[in-house]
Symmetry: C2
Subunit: 216 residues, 2 copies
């Protein structure tokens, strides 16, 4: 009976490590919608028993990142169009507020950082790297919202991102256009100008743009 087989990783619990990895995969669209997961499979991959695997999965289910069927099987969710519309509306509500709260605190260093991230976004688009694009895009938003000093709101926004992760991958996968992120430039311009209405509009447009892609 081996009990504590990896003394090198005492810094953080096993289920935390599993949870973080799975969460990252889901949020950044590395897993397709409807993909099934098993506790024993997770345990095998991360070299842990079923216990930490179960706790990670439970946590992700609670956050809406995973779907639990009536028989207990877990998979990434396949969102209906209505659900996608709701989540996009939530993003708009919460992220517009976060951006608005960040505006008075947004100094030049932040704007520089956003422009840097934006170059990565453009690069990922040109490479047609869906996962890289999602990651860079969310990093852009997170960098801005961190300035709002509103951790509960940011957590809510991230929960929405998490729920949309697999769907975003599917959406961007069928994306043909190779245009640079226009709305991001509008966001940066509004930040520079201290233009709150403009910022709110730009964020709202950016966040709901994926929805139009769905309808079109």
């Amino acid at each position: 009976m081996m009990v504590s087989q990896r003394p090198s990783e005492v810094s953080t619990s096993a289920h935390e490590r599993v949870y973080r990895t799975l969460r990252s995969r889901i949020m950044y669209g590395e897993i397709a919608p409807g993909q099934a997961l098993t506790l024993r499979g997770i345990g095998r991959e991360f070299e842990v028993s079923m216990t930490p695997a179960r706790e990670s999965v439970r946590r992700l289910v609670a956050e809406g990142a995973l779907f639990l069927s009536s028989s207990g099987r877990v998979s990434t969710p396949e969102l209906s169009n209505e659900r996608i519309e709701e989540l996009a509306a939530l993003r708009a509500l919460i992220e517009v507020e976060l951006a608005s709260r960040a505006l008075p605190r947004a100094h030049m260093a932040l704007i520089d950082r956003l422009q840097g991230i934006n170059m990565t976004v453009a690069e990922m688009i040109s490479k047609r790297d869906a996962v890289g694009y999602i990651r860079a895009n969310l990093e852009f938003h997170r960098a801005l919202y961190l300035r709002a000093q509103a951790p509960a709101m940011l957590a809510m926004a991230e929960t929405v991102w998490l729920q949309m992760g697999p769907t975003m991958r599917a959406l961007y996968g069928r994306l043909r256009r190779t245009e640079p992120p226009r709305n991001h430039k509008l966001i940066i311009a509004a930040l520079k100008a201290g233009d709150e209405p403009g910022l709110r509009l730009a964020v709202r447009s950016d966040v709901t743009q994926g929805l139009r892609m769905l309808a079109g």
Copy 2:
């Protein structure tokens, strides 16, 4: 070794039952802020092993209903004033949207039901029953928002309620006033009149009123 000791309750899993009960207690303010919980204690109370207790707790931690200390001990959260302000702002954002979406679908049957619930709210206030008040008040809101046909948004709103549960109890516990729910009447009036701006304002006022109580 006893494995399946309660064949009568096969309808829903043990951890689900534990989760629902704990969630209800927290949301409706039956547990004070900072109250500690133990896995073995939960297991003893619900006559289950630590496993379902752990899963329930993990789930509630993921929803922000419970706080996990660095040493792994769990307790209900003690919210800072900044955190309370954020959560109230989130309520305002999400619930105003939910009310707005419910408005076109709000028929007479709903209004009757809301008025009925409102009588319970007034009764709980007069009895100074904090838990009963919180329960009736949230039932009022939930009844309205269910009409919005927006499950993801409603789930978000409920998560915020859950996070505020213990704090609401503490807040309303120190409440002296015995006034009937004025904002609820404004909500009902706006629903009757089909007055969307009035509805949005009334919901926003109702949801942020507790905050004023805190400041005062």
